[in-house]
């Protein structure tokens, strides 16, 4: 697929991966612009709901960057996301989606080069997988709306 330009959502922890991305930026390292990054305080704080929501709304991939094992600013958040991602991948393969669409990488604040490298690799991999099959289904948007309506209703008014 020549003209496929994947849209990838990235969740990066404030202390390592985001700082690593920052370093990649100030070092003027070039990498493809397909990643839309969201800064979170800790990779362990990423809720599986965020990941599933990104995929259900048509993101072609979800990139998660955290500190190297043992380096978590909050002691063990990166171990937590490691377990969450392992479960989410199992869930995705049962739902017929490629588990490779979710990637977890460890990037320290000093690894600007590595950040650019893993993001480039991931974008290449997603390009090979092709577009997210959940993307652009008219029904889906309606369904999401209906679901959000229902969710609002379910809150006690």
């Amino acid at each position: 697929m020549e003209d496929f330009d994947p849209r990838i959502i990235g969740f990066c922890c404030n202390w390592c991966a985001y700082a690593g991305a920052d370093l990649a930026g100030i070092s003027r390292i070039q990498y493809p612009p397909n990643l839309r990054m969201i800064r979170v305080m800790c990779s362990g704080a990423i809720d599986p709901e965020h990941i599933l929501n990104a995929l259900s709304m048509g993101a072609d991939g979800v990139f998660i960057g955290g500190c190297h094992p043992g380096d978590c600013h909050y002691m063990a958040g990166n171990y937590k996301i490691r377990r969450k991602v392992a479960l989410i991948k199992r869930l995705l393969s049962q739902m017929g989606l490629e588990p490779q669409r979710v990637r977890l990488e460890w990037v320290s604040a000093a690894e600007g080069q590595r950040f650019a490298q893993v993001v480039t690799d991931f974008i290449e991999e997603v390009k090979e997988l092709g577009p997210n099959p959940l993307k652009g289904k008219g029904v889906r948007r309606e369904e999401t709306k209906a679901r959000n309506r229902a969710r609002l209703h379910m809150r006690r008014v």
Partner: protein, 327 residues
Amino acid sequence: MRKLKLAIGLGSTCAGCDIAILDLNEKILDLAAAVEIVFWPTAMDFKLKELEEFGEGEIDLGLYHGTIRTSAQEHIAHLLREKSKALMAFGSCACFGGIPGLCNLTSKEAIFETVYRDTPSTVNPDFTVPKTEVKEGGYLLTLPELYQEGKALPQVVDVDYYLPGCPPVVELIEKLLPIIELMKTGELPPKGTVIASDKTLCEECPLTRENKMISQIVRPHQVIPDPQRCLLEQGILCMGPATRGGCGARCIKALMPCRGCMGPTAEVEDQGAKMISAIASILGVEDEKKLSEEDVEKLMNQIKDPVGTFYRFTLPMALINKRVIKR
């Protein structure tokens, strides 16, 4: 004072919700005194035509139970919405899709292939499958259409109230009686009211939690659980942390793990995602630093059927609610 009109419609259901209403026992007399039942095909001889003859909003309270999988069921849902002042999704199937909602893991074609061709007792060389219309001897015969996916009631029509549970427990159904009394005064409960607890099942669970860490998952038939201790802590997958309470923890009292029939709590959209969080917080925590990526994978592979476990009752309302089938 005039009696309120109550209609009970059904979709793809086991009719356990009807039985649950009958389980009100002597209180069913209070219900019968408070309302006039105008439509309830499971219990009495009602025809769809009778429901169709009502004017818009003439019925005071409509209950709908069951998932919506066929055009006939969708028709009943739309009818009930049109004729009722207030519509309640009754039971887990109507609220979130329920067990029949697990049909989203397969497709209509795959079901037809299995049922009408591949089962060993089937001889069907022409692969004849049900069609919505067939001309036979000058007559047009019709069947409802089977849809590709199952849907919960709020995905099809506007729903006012929810009463989850598979089936809803009698204690919660009893709460309908004061609500009906309230409705007689013309005062309706706020839209979106869920007749259940707002907190998780763990809040009302009688078992004690000591040490929230597990190193492996066991299935209920493999162990005799300690009747005092949290089942999740004993390695049995219990959906309690991600499930709405209000059922009185009756499965837990029989030492069976929660399966999640009450659905997610008020602030949660995706019950399974919350359960993934909960499992990831306790499974394999103790020596997490020593585990390799493969060890973590092996640990999680102990959960054999993630979708069936985490979304047993809520698949159609989940964020990713339909299996991607490549043909």
